[in-house]
């Protein structure tokens, strides 16, 4: 073996050429090429994520949102919205809700999350209180995580158009407490209903 190696180093390996041709035969080359191409193009959807059905995940988000709402109520100054923002409606009529399909519900939830994300980002930029800023940062992270949870439940991503979703589904708020109140209620209501009724989690429910 060593001899062969030294042989190889000196370039005197007589078997070199034959070995190469033996390993890199045509089928092997084709297979390697195929692998490279497939990896590059990544065809098909990615493997479905493991569904996140634990209700404690959303409960955690709701609790943190409530903490932020309490913090903004106690805040005296430096906790105001610079301008009014559009927020999703949080009211749920069960009869109406149950008549909607899962996709429509998911779209409604995702557009609401998008709106809230935009509104909270605006609040973050206008708030100077450090504690509230921390809470808002938490809320923004939780919103993104909620989107991830929805994705894990096989809900397709939906981004509302630039003009925004239908007007009847939105409100306008102008104060920080109102905004955070809406945020809490949205999580508690529509998001919670969507997640607890998700099809991907129904098999686990005994």
């Amino acid at each position: 073996m060593g001899d062969r190696r030294t042989h190889g180093r000196t370039g005197e390996d007589p078997l070199k050429g034959t070995l190469r041709t033996r390993i890199w035969s045509f089928p092997v080359r084709l297979f390697a090429l195929l692998l490279i191409v497939l990896e590059w193009t990544q065809p098909g959807r990615p493997a479905p994520l493991r569904p996140i059905c634990d209700p404690r995940v959303l409960n955690h988000f709701i609790k943190e949102a409530r903490d932020g709402e309490n913090a903004v109520r106690l805040c005296r100054e430096g906790c105001s919205l610079s301008e009014s923002v559009t927020v999703p409606q949080t009211s749920v009529d069960f009869d109406v809700w149950e008549r909607k399909t899962a996709e429509v519900q998911a779209q409604e939830v995702q557009s609401g999350l998008w709106l809230l994300h935009r509104a909270l980002s605006l609040l973050r930029s206008s708030v100077t209180d450090a504690t509230l800023q921390g809470h808002i940062d938490n809320s923004l992270r939780n919103l993104l995580d909620t989107n991830g949870v929805l994705r894990s439940l096989n809900f397709q991503d939906y981004v509302p158009t630039a003009s925004g979703p239908g007007g009847e589904e939105t409100w306008r708020v102008s104060t920080a407490p109102e905004l955070l109140h809406v945020y809490v209620n949205f999580l508690r209501g529509k998001v919670h209903l969507l997640l607890s009724g998700a099809q991907a989690c129904q098999q686990d429910v005994s």
């Binding site: 209700p55 959303l58 409960n59 709701i62 009211s91 009529d93 949205f186 919670h192 607890s196």
Partner: protein, 544 residues
Amino acid sequence: MTCDHLKRWLVFCVVLCVQMAPSSVLSSAQGFENKVSLLLREEPNNPKCFAEGRKDFTCFWEEDEERAGHVGQYSFTYAYQQENSSRCPLRTQQAPHGKKRFICHLNRTQMFVQMDINVRRDGLMIHNRSLLIDLVFLLNPPGNLNVSQTESLSQLLVSWVPPVLKYMEDSMMYQVSYSPADSSQGQVTQVEEVRASSEVVLRGLSPGTRYKVRVRVKLDGVSYNGYWSAWTDPVFMETAPGGVDLLIVSLVFTISLIISLLSVTIIRSHRRFIIRKVWPAIPNPESKFQGLFTVYGGDFREWLSHTNGSLWLRPAFFSSEEYPSAVEVLSELSPSPTLPPKASRAAPVERREEEVGEEKTSRKEEGSGGVKVWQETPHDHWLMEQLRAFHRLPAPCSQSSLLESQDAYVTLNTRQPGCHEEEEGHLDDIMEESSPLEVLFASWGGAGSSESRFDLGSLRLSSASGHLSSGSSLEYPNLTWPPKGPGYTYMAGADSGVCMDYSPMSVSRIEDVGKTLVHNEYKNEIRSERRPVLTRQPSVHTDW
């Protein structure tokens, strides 16, 4: 006929319906009354509002009968956030304690949104409240409460069916209250909180006790919130009666039986050993001096005079507890004056075979025992002197201290010393037992025995062999010693602690007085345990 039949059937059905309907109505009415009374306790605000399910909503308030107006005077209006207000139709009810109850019921609600409620009487607002409907749930109590025993004696399994509410089962929490049914014992009711589960195992209960268990439900407050529901009807169940498990009892019994049998067997087999260890026998010389204490009250002289003296000469004298001590009674080959110093040492005594008798024939030294020949009669007197000297000398070694602690001095009787009882072959065995080497002198006190002998036992230790071999003892049938008492010959003897194993190599008895020569070869087998005692003086031993 058919009409009559039909009429009868109709009446029958009506009666049945009338009977059945009120029960459900009654139950719901009863449930409502319970909730009303509960809310009256829990909620301070007016109007008191609660939601029983996902879609219904009920508000009420009570006023005194005298001051209450007509229901038409009141208006109940509500408005959701950023919506127009709506009006709720009111109805009245008779309440206990002379009160009038006004009730508003909605069949369609919106949750997760703020609701502003306004109650006016004749245009004047009397009640105002703002709430979220999803936060004022008041559920029905859980149903199908079931309590059952478990394998453990102190546990009970409690299970129930949660109220049927879609989407909300995961948000419910329960309280299980349990207490011994016999509350006269003053036991505190305990409450177990359960979340997101519809069964629980109660632990830490007393076995064989009857328990009262009930459950109530509430929404956990994260997504939904509300009031604690009413308690279910109590269910009674007994825990399994206390008592040891049968298997454990049988196992314990079997094991204890086995252990007791083993211990009894061991104790019985080692009974003597145990008794000796626990209750060591106090050495009592009574066995050797029979009748000494019982008859003569301890007077040794009396006892001696009255006994034939054959008793104490037995090898039973040589008790095993006596320690070996080396005694040199006689000198070596020549009875030189230099010998006394040796005699003064408690050195291992060398055995000698002594020539007895007037013949004064010299003995040949027997190799095994290191027996040396004892020469002539002039030895005799010298011997006595040596003995006396030894008698007076203090014990130079520890062994002789042991010596002094024992009855080293044995008064002889006319009888022959037990060591040389060749006729009694068993004596050899007896001598084996006896550890000390006693030097015995037979007295010639005219006891009718023409034979009198005394034996001097000397012991030589050979450390190399590890066992002692003793030479033969001397015999002096003709020695006349100044008697110290009537018929007593006093001798100095030392316990050597050596068990003498007499193997007669050449044994001849003294037939006549002083005429015979007795050879005795004694081979002692010293028990190994004695060796440490003896080998304390290795220098002494090796001299010999």
